[in-house]
């Protein structure tokens, strides 16, 4: 964690270093931080900022987290703030919601969102609906987080994407970070939000490093929930995606750029409330739309985007129907060749873009 250490070094040292006329080392303006580290930092900062925040889940404390996302937190904050739970998703999710109702700010980790199905009643019926049912009397400031979607070789019961399931429900906020900047800014916003927020992380992204710009290194860096980000400007086609597939979209865009096709790549960042305005504005510019997601096609995120585009001003600007790229409509198989072909690959995205452009 030398990069983190250098981040905290005081400015005076850097100045005195210059005065001593050593080889000039550029102050680390941007930092290489993995998504895992970014989430860790975000939680650490919020735990420090507000003593009502605490983390609970399986293996989050003494094991440092099943995927090491909560590494070091138990050592720093102890048993009261970082709580290892038994294997009882429905029970501990309910406990977390109850604690939130009574005024604390829990972060409830599901080891993967597949296990959240055990607890989904607590997420939807106890957390999401309560503020409405009580006409604004009882709020539930809780964060449910964990890895979502496909991993590698973990087969059907451990690979489901829950963006559409949670995105369906009023009263919930659902975010899906892609980069380290996303991960840090969104987890902090989620923790500070007074509503139940589902944070859909991605296990395959945990180890991926990104440059964290200077503003993202501040302890008050927040990314607003409900706002998408244009990762790459373009003119010929709009590509909308969330989570890991954003990487594939950018790769496809790079390949196509050599052929003279400029793709505008939008990273949704938030599933609910969806930032349809950013997508519409882009489509009104490019006249073509491709959606890319890891989840199944039926009733999915892309389906919702299609419906909303059709209902809105951007419909008249479309020169072709919207094309969806999704996971294959099967439970995730195990064998590598089958698994590889069950998730959107770069070639699938390129193919879809060319179809949308009628090439």
């Amino acid at each position: 964690m030398a990069v983190v250490a250098s981040l905290t070094r005081r400015p005076l040292e850097q100045v005195s270093g210059l005065l001593r006329r050593r080889f000039h080392r550029t102050a680390p303006a941007a930092l290489q931080v993995t998504v895992r580290e970014a989430i860790n930092q975000g939680m650490d900062e919020e735990l420090e900022r507000d003593e009502k925040v605490f983390l609970l889940g399986e293996e989050v404390a003494q094991y440092d987290g099943a995927y090491k996302v909560s590494r070091g937190l138990w050592k720093k904050y102890g048993d009261k703030r970082i709580i290892d739970t038994p294997i009882s998703e429905m029970g501990f999710a309910g406990i977390a919601v109850g604690a939130a109702m009574a005024g604390l700010r829990p972060i409830c980790e599901f080891m993967t969102f597949n296990f959240s199905m055990q607890a989904i009643d607590q997420v939807i019926n106890s957390a999401a609906k309560t503020y409405y049912m009580s006409a604004g009397f009882q709020s539930v400031p809780i964060v449910f987080r964990g890895p979502n979607g496909a991993s590698a070789g973990v087969a059907a019961q451990h690979s489901q994407c829950f963006a559409a399931w949670y995105g369906h429900c009023p009263g919930l906020k659902v975010v899906s970070p892609w980069s380290s900047e996303d991960a840090k800014g969104l987890i902090k916003s989620a923790i500070r939000d007074n509503n139940p927020v589902v944070v859909l992380e991605n296990e395959l992204m945990y180890g991926v490093p990104f440059e964290l710009p200077p503003e993202a290194q501040s302890k008050d860096f927040l990314i607003p929930i409900g706002k998408a980000k244009i990762e790459r400007q373009g003119t010929h086609v709009t590509i909308v995606s969330h989570s890991r597939p954003v990487s594939h979209c950018l790769e496809a865009a790079t390949v196509l750029s050599k052929e003279g096709i400029e793709c505008e790549v939008i990273n949704m960042r938030t599933i609910r409330p969806m930032d349809i305005e950013t997508i519409e504005a882009s489509v009104m510019k490019t006249n073509h739309l491709v959606t890319v997601e890891g989840g199944w096609p039926q009733f999915g995120v892309g389906a919702e985007i299609c419906a909303r585009i059709m209902e809105g001003p951007a419909f008249n600007f479309l020169d072709a129907p919207v094309v969806r790229v999704t996971g294959a409509d099967v439970p995730m198989p195990y064998a590598k060749v089958l698994e590889d072909n069950s998730v959107p690959q770069v070639k699938d995205i390129i193919f879809a873009i060319k179809k949308a452009l009628n090439m």
């Binding site: 009574a102 009580s134 006409a135 009023p170 509503n195």
Partner: protein
């Protein structure tokens, strides 16, 4: 003698007060509005004087004792060396308070029954008449700063936790004056330190309650959480998950099984391999309590609360009680049990009758005095019902309100893309 005169004087005040109220409250066109208000004020004062508890009247009352000691049933114990005391002292003041509260809950539930049959209340309506000793007794054993959560048979608890009958009935009728502005209905009423009112049959409640207890422990203010569920819910898996974590982490949680012998239409024998609900916490100590005797409930609650506050962890209480109505208003309640059984409980174990008999037989109150409370309660319920019937429904513009907390306003989609509702927090 002096004391007889004081009784007559009190009666006179009462008559004057009632007369003033009667005149003031009638929509009498001979009586101008200002006159009515004055009479109403006068009647309040006079009735207030007449209702002063015996100890505050200058001349000591002829009849009433200040308190009395009663024997209560011994609780069955599980993993406990000793249980709650088998005698308790009831003061006249407390007795009158409990009587009034139980009678209010009883009449409120019966009024809800009436309104439901008139189709002014719709949807689900689960009544708790017969179980009044539970909600009133539990409240008597804890502090207002303690916390309570229960499932859908919640109207009694909503009242004992501090909401008015008006706010409750108006919520049942789905009006804007309801405690949840008509958005929640029978099963979703909330108040300070009262977390509903939860609808999922079974035991969504129990982990929530353990979580509230976790917050109590986290905050370190000696507060506890009462977490209620029924005999039907007692077989839900997540209850055992909650038991495990509550015991593991020593959460200050009283798990309370309100055993009214039937989970909807299924008797306890047909649903549970073990009907010793107070033992089902296994490693959690438990007690089985006579839930028809308010004093028994109160003492057991005091005992359990002290246990939790001492940091010993969770404890389990089974309240043996009975509901006169069926599971809900759609259930006549006689297909799975006999009318004779219901009648037997009514005549032998009715909680209000038990308290009344005790108070009258030990000179804590007179029959007339309690009758007056009945009259007063009826009036309160009648007023509340009128309000609940006359109050308008929530405005359509508010359909989208309260989706998110602390957020700026946004738009919520209606039945089609052109129908939009504004949503504010």
């Amino acid at each position: 003698s002096g004391s007889v005169r004081s009784e007559n004087l009190k009666e006179t005040w009462r008559h004057l007060g009632r007369a003033a109220w009667a005149v003031g409250s009638r929509r009498c066109r001979h009586c101008p509005h200002s006159m009515r208000k004055m009479l109403a004020a006068v009647s309040r004062v006079l009735l207030g004087v007449a209702q002063k508890p015996a100890s505050r009247v200058l001349v000591a009352s002829r009849n009433f004792a200040n308190d009395a000691t009663f024997e209560i049933k011994k609780c069955d114990l599980h993993r406990l060396e000793e249980g709650p005391p088998v005698t308790t002292v009831l003061t006249r003041e407390d007795g009158l308070k409990y009587y009034r509260m139980m009678q209010t809950v009883r009449r409120m539930e019966l009024k809800a029954d009436q309104l439901y049959k008139q189709k002014i209340i719709r949807g689900f309506c689960h009544l708790c008449d017969g179980q009044e000793a539970c909600c009133v007794g539990l409240e008597a054993g804890i502090n207002p700063t303690d916390h309570l959560i229960t499932a859908y048979r919640a109207h009694g608890f909503t009242f004992t936790r501090g909401l008015s009958v008006r706010a409750i009935l108006a919520e049942l009728t789905g009006r804007r004056g309801g405690c949840a502005k008509g958005k929640g209905g029978s099963m979703h009423m909330y108040a300070k330190n009262f977390y509903g009112g939860n609808g999922i049959v079974g035991a969504q409640v129990v982990p929530l309650g353990a979580g509230i207890a976790l917050a109590c422990k986290y905050n370190g203010k000696d507060e506890i959480c009462l977490t209620l569920y029924g005999d039907g819910a007692a077989n839900q898996g997540q209850i055992f998950e909650a038991y495990n974590m509550a015991a593991l982490w020593k959460l200050p949680c009283i798990f309370i099984c309100e055993n009214n012998r039937y989970g909807m239409g299924t008797s306890v024998e047909r649903a549970a391999a073990s009907t010793d609900y107070y033992k089902r916490g296994d490693f959690i100590p438990g007690l089985r309590v006579d839930g028809m005797d308010i004093l028994c409930v109160r003492e057991a609650t005091r005992f359990a609360a002290a246990y939790c506050r001492a940091g010993k962890g969770p404890i389990l209480m089974e309240l043996q009680t009975y509901r006169y109505h069926g599971h809900s208003m759609s259930d006549p309640g006689v297909s799975y049990r006999t009318r004779e059984e219901i009648q037997e409980v009514r005549s032998k174990s009715d909680p209000i009758m038990l308290l009344k008999d005790r108070m009258v037989n030990s000179n804590l109150a007179s029959v007339e005095e309690l009758k007056e409370i009945d009259v007063d309660v009826r009036k309160e319920i009648e007023d509340a019902a009128q309000f609940a019937t006359a109050d308008p429904e929530p405005p359509l513009e508010e359909l989208g309100y309260h989706i998110y907390c602390s957020d700026p306003p946004f738009e919520v989609r209606g039945a089609n893309q052109w129908i939009k509702f504004k949503s504010i927090s």
